[in-house]
Symmetry: C2
């Protein structure tokens, strides 16, 4: 089965719309943008569009590229204190002179819809948090919807970044899976691909995973996005892998559109709490 991420995103958004309608009082998502990165602006537009659909407010706070770390940290703290801002997102990447985590730690945990501040990550690590990092939230949603077995399964995680690989490893460890966390230093990745019942891939290397490498019936969450000759691609050679997979998320149109919707799922959970 090929997961239709756009349709699932719409399904999630429609469900959320009903829920947000029940909430009295102003609901607003605040997004912090530093500089003018075109990709960031495009992601922000997607977020704004969903807010409109959901009938909730959206506020963009913009700062110049050369803002000082200390000043930005203070701003984020102030934005979190505004009662109407129920969720706060710091759009990544930040300019290279800024240590991301120093800024992300200024987000109040009760408003941290991206699950990126240290306090929330500690609770997440301990499996005590009621929101999940957005990409993991997408994976958990698909697993539940399509009744994918996890406990005792071999789950291969390719990459160990803070947005995909590391949180996905933690999630599957907490779910009782056997988790194989790999990275660019891994020798013999193919032997691990062969053993995997589930693969989460965030390497950003088109055609890293080919049909003849995977088990029949494998479940694949392709969470990578890179541009190659004007096309968006994931880590799978989709043509060959999709023939053997029992479930696969395509790129584009798989995990990407759902991830944005999950921001608002987290916003709802945090507001209700």
């Amino acid at each position: 089965m090929i997961v239709d991420g756009k349709q699932l995103a719409q399904e999630i958004i429609e469900g959320l719309k009903l829920e947000f309608n029940k909430i009295t009082g102003k609901t607003r998502l605040a997004v912090v943008l530093v500089g003018q990165d075109p990709a960031s602006l495009s992601f922000i537009k997607q977020k704004q569009k969903i807010a409109q659909t959901l009938g909730i407010e959206f506020k963009l706070y913009q700062y110049p590229e050369d803002i000082k770390v200390k000043d930005l940290r203070k701003k984020v703290g102030e934005i979190c204190k505004v009662t109407a801002n129920k969720g706060v997102v710091v759009q990544l990447p930040l300019p290279s002179h800024i240590n991301n985590q120093v800024i992300l730690n200024a987000i109040l945990k009760e408003k941290d819809v991206d699950v990126l501040c240290e306090k929330n990550l500690g609770a997440y690590y301990l499996n005590r948090l009621n929101v999940l990092p957005p990409v993991v939230s997408v994976i958990a949603y698909i697993i539940k919807k399509y009744e994918v077995d996890v406990s005792g399964k071999n789950v291969l995680i390719i990459g160990r970044g803070n947005l995909v690989g590391k949180p996905a490893s933690m999630y599957f460890i907490n779910q009782g899976a056997t988790v194989i966390s790999t990275n660019k230093h891994t020798s013999d990745l193919e032997s691990f691909i062969k053993k995997a019942d589930i693969i989460v891939s965030g390497a950003g290397q088109p055609n890293l995973i080919k049909g003849d490498m995977v088990k029949d019936g494998v479940v694949i969450f392709d969470a990578a996005v890179v541009e190659e000759s004007g096309k968006l691609k994931g880590d799978c050679d989709f043509e060959s892998v999709s023939k053997k997979a029992s479930l696969i998320t395509p790129v584009p149109g798989g995990i990407g559109p759902m991830t944005v919707a999950m921001l608002y799922m987290n916003l709802l959970i945090l507001i209700k709490k």
Copy 2:
């Protein structure tokens, strides 16, 4: 090589003694004990003995078995506020009516020598903390001392508990290793044991790992301790495994005695910071 944990612990303690001597002002480790568990009392005695050797103060705060969670949390908060208490340990296990983490989160991160409060675990997850959970600290010490290669190696972690398996998985992921996190649901553990260059085992199942299962030259951190017919045992059939391992920590006399010493290593780091 068979790691002599007692001797290494002594080496660490002697080094720490010199460092603590340089520190002006009162240094005290506070330990919170709820109830009268004999094993806990014995662990506390070990900690106290090292404090004496190091020439630093040790204070035991004792509470009755039936103390309310709310009251214990308040007490721990107060103990952290005492300036002379430079490090605070909550002796585990706590009575079953108490949720461990609720109490552990009351420990100030600056005094959390066991690295168990959520704030510190979030920073640890992100590889941003300058102290390590004690068992991981032992592993890191041995790796450094005996120049064990880690990056790109296959590291098998058996168990996913909060004291050994989970923090060890995170550590080796952050170090660039290929990490295989297994648990009681894992099928075909033997095939993973066969592939492992390094094994960290915290299952508590004597003879789980046998000599004919492991690679020649494997490095083994046996972090399990269980009593079997009056003897302390780890997860390895030591007789057969030690013949093939290039490095192995025995049980008893391996990781155990070093772990207690690492509490004080963390205390020193936190004080200096």
